[in-house]
Symmetry: C2
Subunit: 360 residues, 2 copies
């Protein structure tokens, strides 16, 4: 490649470090800044996450970080691998001054609709709305299904004039695992025991209620819905089935919750049996219907012929039904994990690089 | 968009006309040339396929067609929707002079390795190898699985440093339908009767042996293998199971072939029964293994847990196994048909447009 793309990486946690590792093998990138929630390192040569522990680190200041990364004679990108809402407030300003934004952080895309509109308006087409040549590019493939090619496919369908009818799927690796295992042929374990196993395998949040309340899935539904054309849909519009039993929502600790959960095994078993009587299995499904704008997140029954019935492991699966794909365009695979999330981020960063690579 | 991409369309058949219809709704494109195998129309305003029937049509000359499309002050692209080998001889020259090439035509990508290398060498990165700013872009997503996002995903995986282990799938809508129907629960029809039905539905080539010989699938395996990194693999390297019974290969007509085919129903039934005894179904699978370069196209058994066992209709399905996706990244959907093939072509054309849109 004839040019370099200069990168600032925010949030060198597990995903951020995997991004840095993948970028380090690609000569077209130079990471010139790394920041965590309080400190940053600005450098003219390549910088690693470890530099944050050294005297080179200074207090975090988003303004000077952006000045630094855009001071080089090449394309610049800020890669936000934090889970924080703070950087999202800066995206529009960064994009407007020509810095591209690449992120697996859901906050900007599932959050406030006005802020989302401002960000999209500041970003250069095709993923944003600005037609200004000097605007930055915006990519966030890894906000849903990690590196699975979901948002790019939905955006291609929309851009080429297809009519999207619905987007639905299993959008959480945790909830995929829980229901795939629970409804697997021959499983005798109760729902609570499966949650316990998932927690011990590290598949759940420290408090599994943060998975079971469905909010993470609902945020992903908002992102998919907006990509499919419902730009003003918000989290409040999503009807969410919280599968944490109502009486356990205020139990003070995760351990206490897990101790109480087996009391609800019979309720879950009854739903599983009702599905099985129809030859179906239970899946935790997020869905948006474009014509009505109806968005739901709930336990649903998938019959033997349905693609979601074939899920295994902790895979995500999304089924996009359109006028051209009435049976559905289906994409399935690992939708969580550091390496696959970083893959989606770095593939997006390469899109930024290739768009800019041949500019004067 | 601030600029226009000027297009010459070769081959206004069913797919070509669907491409023209999708392009006509997109203001960023202007189709200034249309050609069939013998004639062309060059125009300064938008031109349709019907112009070929008028006095505006002149004898086809690829040189002046390229001169014409590249004479405008904007990006230019030649979209080859022919099934001919002839345009492929021109791709490298067109790319070298800055004209982008977008095509669903398999000839260049499954054909001669030296010509393929010359084409890739002339095309601008990321899909080609040239780093020249004035080289054209090359996209051919619709050569495999129509508009399904297969090649772009494989190329992203390779570009970000993943190690692809294997790519396998059902790559023919025709052969998907035949084996899905034949092995569907409760099907009593013999294999020959299913072929007969598929032909009457228009799912097969006029002579179904052109599907059953496996060559079309083998060409797609070559394209996938090359995208995954085996640049010099050729059709000769693919081990193909031709399922046309040997004694029927030289029968002079399709009708005579179909009349004889029921004599082989027992052979097919025996294979189906052998698979069923293991809880598996038959699928016609193309596969390439990256470590060994072994490429095969054959009737394979898919067990109950395998994604290919869940196929229905005439869907294509591809399973990409990599270091990061050991369970496989799976993409499934309609892999044939005018509208979905055109979708892949037009999405590629939009990539050309967006890359050029902000250039000076």
């Amino acid at each position: 490649m004839p040019s370099t793309t200069y990168v600032a990486l925010l949030g060198p946690g597990l995903v951020g470090r995997a991004v840095l590792a993948q970028l380090s093998a690609l000569p077209q990138f130079r990471v010139v800044a790394v920041a965590n929630s309080s400190r940053m390192v600005l450098s003219s040569s390549s910088v690693t996450a470890d530099a944050l522990k050294t005297d080179a680190a200074v207090p975090l200041a988003y303004g000077s970080l952006a000045d630094h990364v855009s001071s080089y004679p090449g394309a610049s990108a800020i890669i936000d691998c934090t889970a924080s809402d703070a950087p999202a407030h800066w995206y529009a300003a960064w994009l407007a001054r020509g810095i591209s934004v690449v992120t697996p952080n859901k906050k900007a895309f599932a959050g406030d609709a006005a802020r989302y509109a401002a960000i999209r308006g500041s970003a250069r087409a095709p993923t944003g709305l600005s037609t200004r040549k000097d605007a930055g590019l915006l990519f966030h493939e890894s906000t849903v299904g990690a590196g699975l090619p979901l948002l790019c496919t939905i955006k291609d369908l929309v851009a080429t004039g297809d009519a999207i009818e619905s987007v639905e799927g299993v959008l959480s690796g945790t909830l995929s695992y829980l229901f795939n295992e629970y409804c697997a042929p021959g499983n005798k374990a109760g729902f609570a025991a499966i949650v316990e196993t998932a927690k011990s395998l590290g598949y759940t949040e420290p408090d599994p209620r943060d998975d079971l309340n469905g909010l993470d899935v609902a945020r992903k539904v908002v992102i998919l819905a907006r990509a499919a054309g419902l730009a003003s849909l918000t989290l409040d519009d999503v009807e969410v089935e919280n599968i944490v039993p109502a009486t356990l929502r205020d139990v003070p600790s995760a351990d206490a919750f897990l101790k109480e959960l087996p009391k609800f095994d019979a309720e879950f078993a009854a739903r599983k049996a009702a599905a099985a009587a129809k030859g179906a299995v239970l899946r935790y499904v997020g869905r948006v219907e474009l014509a009505t704008g109806k968005a739901t997140v709930k336990v649903a029954e998938a019959g033997a012929g349905h693609p979601l019935a074939g899920l295994g492991g902790a895979d995500n699966m999304v089924v996009i039904k359109t006028k051209r794909f009435p049976r559905g365009l289906v994409i399935q695979g690992a939708g969580a994990g550091d390496a696959v999330t970083a893959f989606g981020v770095v593939a997006d960063a390469l899109r930024v690089h290739h768009t800019h690579a041949f500019e004067p």
